[in-house]
Amino acid sequence: MLTSKKPNLESVTSINADGSRYFIHPADVSGNFTVWRRVFGALLLAVYVLLPWIPAGGYPAVFFDLAGRRFHFFGLTFLSEDLWIGFFLLTGLGFSLFYVTALFGRLWCGWACPFTVFLEQVYRRIERLIDGDAFARRSLDQSAWTFSKTSKRIVKHTLYLVVSLILAHIFVSYFVSIPRLYGYMQESPLNNAKAFGVMLFLTGALYFSFSWFREQFCLILCPYGRIQSALTDDDTVVIGYDELRGEPRGKKSDPNAGDCINCSRCVQVCPTGIDIRNGLQMECIGCAACIDACNEVMDKTSRPRGLVRYDSMNGLAGKVRRYWRPRIMLYTAMLCLGLAVAGLFLTGLHSAKLELVRFPGAPYYVTETTVRNQFRLHLVTKQNAETTFMFSTNELPAGAVVSGIDGPVPVSPGGGKMLTVIVQIPLESYTESFDVTFEATVNPGDFVLSDSVKFLGPSKYLLQ
């Protein structure tokens, strides 16, 4: 069968009745959306490939240093105690998905998803280069193993493997950094078995996914696709066929027919094997190939574009297309709340840390003349430069003596220090426990950190 299988609403095109795979070869398509998808895909690919090479603040721009347990992100460094930011990140991403999907449907799937970007912009391009257009690819699939077919397959799959290896190495470099990765590559793989294992696994996964698995991921495996499909309503802008305009289908010369001439171009270019004229379906990843295909034909038949277009279900039924509706109002309110909370917490994020804890041992010591508390001051800097802490304390009872800090304390880049601090007050001055607060002005950055601990002592009845 050298033409594509005809889709229906009861079964999945890429799964045959006996369970075997029907390999989909989408036809070539060109148009506005195709161009914009390529541009956007190229941009995303460039970001993915180039980020580990760009330095920021002495480290790669995005460097998840697993070994050192530090995450470097465009000049900022996060330690494991900053992991709470991950909460806002994850919930923020999840919420953005809900918000964007409610407005524009599966925009992520067709435009930004790494699977789509790698598959359409990298692997399918290689296949198109070597195997030819959809018709040629189907012929090749069905032909016997001639020398030509064998050599094409070998070249294609070799290229697939090479690309998979490169992508996998770049992935590993996000966690290991490019210089270190280069070092690893010059040693035996067994020296860095974990990184090598990850790289191998990822190469295999990428190769398998993009040479064979392809749309099965979108249709069956991917949770985001299903979730997004559940998040749309009749006002969500999706890709659809204007039935009112297109039906009944007929020849161009037929005056009673609608605009659809049943050329099936929209079916031929679909990478997931559906017929968009059957309506919005779960398989549709929103790649807009059918829009471009139909527009091309509309141009040729001198009819207005947009028979297949981005529109809401209501819009396609002829009603008004509205964006601002109760669901969107609620989402916007939640967005503002979320941003406010995140902002509030992020103001407490600093590039250095100060912690005052009680020294191990007794909570207080009493001599003939003094009551004494022993503390430990933990200083940490996340900056890639020497950081100084300049200290001051709060108001302490009369006669208090603080020893352990004389002058500004320097901390080496990315390092920490632990100081012993003793606070003594004369017996007469001690009546009850009070707060001891240490405040530090930190430079570079010129911000203030502080921490408090209670100064403890015996009950005043015991002192009398």
């Binding site: 069968m1 033409t3 594509s4 299988k5 005809k6 889709p7 229906n8 009861e10 079964s11 999945v12 095109t13 890429s14 799964i15 045959n16 009745a17 006996d18 369970g19 075997s20 795979r21 698995f213 099965q216 069956i220 001439i261 049943n262 050329c263 099936s264 020294f359 191990p360 041992g361 007794a362 010591y365 001599t367 003349t369 003094t370 004494r372 022993q374 003596v401 020893s403 352990g404 004389d406 220090k417 632990m418 100081l419 012993t420 601090v421 003793i422 003594q424």
Partner: protein
């Protein structure tokens, strides 16, 4: 234009009906069934392998215990080798070595000076500090360098005074360097 007349795939509707609901009889994709069967095989193998073969993947607890045991062993090896080579005389020699003195001073200023004073006199601008003065000839718990080292390592024998066992925070060689620093402040006539 082409009209595709080919059947698109036989889809059978099964006869049984529950509450008005019927189902299609469609096959799962073969790759999905394949992974299911592989999972069964893997399970059988894995179960026997886990219980019959000596292979074990360490649990987190076991791995952490192992790493701690390794650290403790390294620490005791370092301690033993250091103590074997340390004598009173060698500590005195260290107290004359400027490189040891600089490290020792760094540790002292951060950890010991709050109680014993930066100048070891246990006084801060005339006010008495908690620790005992270290720059005089009076030693409460022993004046030999090794005895001094024992105090630093295990803390003051009198726990009401508040000197902790610094072995929890300093390595044996760091303790030796601090002791050397202290000794360097002793009046030179003390042997």
């Amino acid at each position: 234009m082409n009209k595709d007349e080919k059947p698109s795939g036989e889809v059978f509707l099964r006869e049984h009906e529950f509450d008005g609901i019927q189902e299609y009889d469609q096959k799962l994709p073969n790759w999905w069934l394949f992974t299911f069967y592989i999972a069964i095989v893997f399970f059988v193998f894995g179960w026997f392998a886990y219980y019959q073969l000596p292979l074990r993947i360490q649990s987190d607890a076991e791995r952490i215990d192992g790493e701690i045991a390794l650290i403790e062993m390294k620490k005791s090896v370092e301690l033993n080798s250091l103590m074997a080579s340390l004598t009173d005389n060698s500590l005195f020699e260290m107290s004359r070595d400027p490189s040891h003195l600089t490290t020792g001073q760094g540790i002292f200023d951060g950890k010991c000076a709050p109680c014993h004073g930066a100048d070891l006199s246990a006084k801060l601008g005339g006010i008495a500090l908690p620790g005992l003065p270290l720059n005089d000839a009076e030693w409460k718990y022993g004046s030999k360098p090794l005895e001094i080292m024992k105090i630093v390592t295990s803390g003051s024998p009198d726990i009401t005074k508040g000197m902790i066992a610094w072995s929890t925070q300093l390595s044996p060689s760091e303790i030796a360097q601090v002791v050397a620093y202290i000794l360097s402040h002793q009046p030179k006539e003390v042997p």
